[in-house]
């Protein structure tokens, strides 16, 4: 059933080796003569491109197998093995991971190429590419890992790299704090993942702790509903951390502190999609407990709503995109939550294209304006940067869910699945969010590219980015345009290639609802899109002044004060507990018995000091007194 191929391990190895090589080169040259940037750029792109080629090879190999036995495995070595716990450093390529593999390496490579231009002139050029390669390598480990533990390696690896890349401009404290936040919040999620893994192991892990064995034993008696629910929810906690869902989404907007290609890499291709991928990977567990799925779906759709609200009021171009990512991730979770795993993954797939496109486009704008990120200082750029403008509009249309574009099909698939499985609430919120998405996306487009330039000085100097940056944009734009067609539903004459491709990997039951439901879903989405874009055009189409927010808008502008709330409720008390332990509890409670013993000796010493008068005869007197007392006692007993 499974076929072993040893080139699987090479796929993550290429970028990882690249990272080590570039990192060492950078470390040893950064304070001396610097290597030319080209060396780093080329070295950095070799790894991802080679991985992409290997991914294609994997795809071809899988394609050549009959659908039900599309598994390629590679056991590199025994990782650790203690008692019942046998963990191999093993890799698994099946349709699901292959799909992820293809677009991760593809988009990752494009972002690397783009970065050659974007990062030009940075003094830590080499460091940047080392981190990027490490990031991609970790993501590939995550995707290819044959079991939860190997996945966890990549899982934490991307967390680390996001920390390193977000705090890349480390001289500025706020950037480093954003990095810290990302790592720590991710770690909270990781705790859930580790605990989930542990419970899963003690239930059914003894016979082998990789996906295929777990899947085979999922109906064991040890796997009660309670255990299943616990495991699913704990794993989902991990997913909320990595994929920025309520309540752990707070790190993602701050992650904009890193260089723009990093944001693209984090948001589009790699890190944030890991949560969705993980839930899909464990679909055989989630399929067993409906409750867990519902929770996932509701958390997802509420995150989508919340992030959309925030997104409508942001002024930083990257923050708008960041909240749109959070929002789209919410959709994906709604999708996998209602057991439409292929729809969720398909949205991951299309989202990777248009979000990478949007971020790289935004990066192009920022690059042209010399690192200006406030949209209220832009405007009228469409004439200056035509390629960027066109590609970004394509991306925006895809994000907003305009019918022929990729985002439409994937989002519609999710909303349709929600409706078809009877989750009307999720569907309704989803439609609402679709409208809001259209609104804030085009608000951004209109403000940045249309109207009159707001900052004339910056406008004068703005120019189209070099080809090394625009070519990836164009490639991604093509992807954003047509990727949706891959999974064309039957109603449009397609045959859902992606869903069928994924079928062997995920455990899902395609709902069969009537054509009416399907048309209702599509219609509602289109209407929501139209309303959203219309409002945006009405308000910002002809150029608009920077608004000042009041009331609810102000509240939303400040992101409902969630960051402040977390700071007050978690961070400050945490620090307060820390310092109270150090300043109050440690000296007065924990150390008190020890100090008490010392004090006891001191007190006894002072008490007995009185007798040490220093006169020899008094010491003699003590002796005689003792003798005398002894004599008294003894003479009692002498008779």
């Amino acid at each position: 059933m499974e076929q072993s191929v040893n080139y699987l391990g090479l796929i993550p190895l290429f970028p990882l080796l690249g990272a080590v090589l570039i990192g060492l080169l950078h470390v040893f040259t950064c304070n001396r003569t610097k290597l030319p940037e080209k060396v780093y750029g080329i070295l950095a792109c070799v790894g991802p491109v080679l991985s992409f080629v290997m991914a294609l090879k994997v795809f071809v190999a899988l394609k050549g197998l009959p659908p039900e036995s599309r598994f390629l495995v590679h056991k590199a070595f025994t990782w650790f093995s203690v008692g019942d716990l046998h963990i191999n450093m093993g890799f698994l390529a099946d349709p699901l991971s292959c799909l992820m593999l293809l677009f991760v390496t593809f988009i990752g490579s494009l972002i690397h190429i783009y970065s050659i231009g974007y990062m030009g002139g940075d003094k830590n050029y080499g460091k940047f590419f080392a981190y990027m390669n490490l990031f991609l390598g970790s993501m590939l480990v995550l995707v290819l890992g044959d079991g939860p533990v190997v996945m966890f390696v990549g899982w934490e690896g991307v967390g680390l790299c996001s920390y390193l890349l977000i705090s890349f401009y480390s001289e500025d404290r706020s950037n480093v704090l954003a990095g810290n936040k990302a790592f720590i919040v991710n770690r909270v999620g990781d705790l859930g993942f580790v605990l989930g893994m542990s419970f899963l192991f003690w239930a059914i892990g003894a016979q082998g702790f990789d996906y295929l064995s777990l899947k085979a034993h999922v109906n064991d008696p040890a796997m009660t509903q309670g255990v299943l629910l616990t495991v699913c929810l704990l794993l989902f906690v991990g997913a909320t951390g990595k994929s920025a869902q309520i309540p752990l989404y707070v790190w993602l907007p701050d992650a904009m502190a890193g260089p723009t290609p990093v944001s693209a890499l984090i948001h589009a291709a790699t890190m944030v999609t890991a949560g969705v991928y993980m839930v899909a990977r464990f679909s055989f567990l989630y399929a067993e407990v409906a409750l867990a799925g519902s929770i996932v779906a509701w958390v997802g759709i509420l995150t989508a709503l919340l992030a959309a609200i925030f997104g409508m009021f942001q002024e930083d171009i990257k923050k708008v995109l960041a909240y749109s990512t959070v929002s789209q991730l919410g959709y994906m979770f709604a999708g996998v939550g209602v057991a439409a795993y292929s729809a969720g993954i398909f949205h991951v797939f299309t989202h990777a294209f248009f979000k990478a496109l949007l971020f790289l486009g935004a990066g192009s704008v920022i690059y042209a304006l010399h690192h200006e990120q406030n949209i209220w200082k832009m405007g009228g750029l469409k004439n200056k940067m035509p390629k960027t403008y066109v590609t970004m509009v394509i991306g925006a249309l895809a994000l907003a869910g305009c019918p022929p574009f990729s985002g439409f099909f994937s989002k519609d698939e999710i909303l349709y699945s929600a409706l078809a499985t009877g989750h009307f609430g999720i569907w309704a919120v989803g439609v609402l969010v679709a409208g809001m998405t259209a609104y804030y996306t085009f608000r951004m487009i209109f403000v940045v590219f249309h109207g009159e330039p707001r900052d004339h000085h910056a406008y004068e100097h703005a120019q189209e980015s070099p080809a090394v940056m625009t070519v990836p944009l164009i490639i991604l734009a093509v992807g954003a345009l047509f990727a949706g067609l891959l999974n064309l539903p039957a109603i449009f004459g397609g045959d859902q290639i992606v869903s069928h491709w994924l079928a062997p990997s995920v455990t899902e039951h395609h709902p069969h609802a009537g054509v009416f439901i399907e048309i209702l879903a599509i219609g509602a989405s289109v209407v929501a899109f139209a309303i959203g874009i219309k409002i945006a055009y009405a308000k910002f189409g002809k150029g608009a002044p920077e608004p000042s927010f009041t009331g609810f808008a102000d509240f939303a502008y400040h992101k409902f004060y969630v960051d402040e709330l977390y700071d007050k409720v978690i961070v400050q008390p945490y620090k307060a507990i820390g310092s109270s332990i150090w300043k109050v509890i440690e000296p007065n409670v924990t150390d008190a018995p020890v100090k008490g013993v010392a004090r006891l000796y001191m007190v006894l010493g002072t008490a007995f000091k009185v007798f040490q008068v220093g006169y020899v005869r008094v010491y003699a007197l003590y002796m005689v007194l003792g003798l005398s007392l002894m004599s008294l006692l003894l003479s009692q007993s002498l008779n």
């Binding site: 007995f608 009185v610 040490q612 008068v613 005869r617 008094v618 003699a620 005689v624």
Partner: protein
């Protein structure tokens, strides 16, 4: 008769103790110690006579030798102290005071 000797020995011994603890003059204290040694010697000799064995005599000689050694050292110390403080008061020397 033996009892009488021993009672005398006890009386002398007790007087020696009183001398040590009640007086502050270094010489008196020192001689009181000697007095206690002599009281012990008397008891040795008495018992030696009673048992008609001369081991007690040997011990008495030892005690005398020790007393002599002690006298030499003690007097050297007294001289030293007198040089230091020109006092013969034991209360002056209270370095052990806590």
């Amino acid at each position: 008769m033996m009892h009488c000797y021993l009672y005398l020995s006890i009386i002398l011994f007790c007087l020696g103790i009183v001398g040590v603890i009640a007086r502050r003059n270094v010489f008196t204290v020192f001689m009181s110690v000697e007095l206690m040694l002599n009281a012990a010697n008397l008891a040795f000799i008495t018992f030696s006579r009673v048992h008609e064995s001369m081991d007690g005599h040997v011990l008495a000689m030892m005690v005398m030798a020790v007393a002599a050694a002690e006298a030499a050292l003690a007097l050297a110390v007294v001289i030293l102290l007198h040089k230091h403080k020109s006092k013969l008061d034991t209360n002056v020397f209270s370095l052990l005071k806590g």
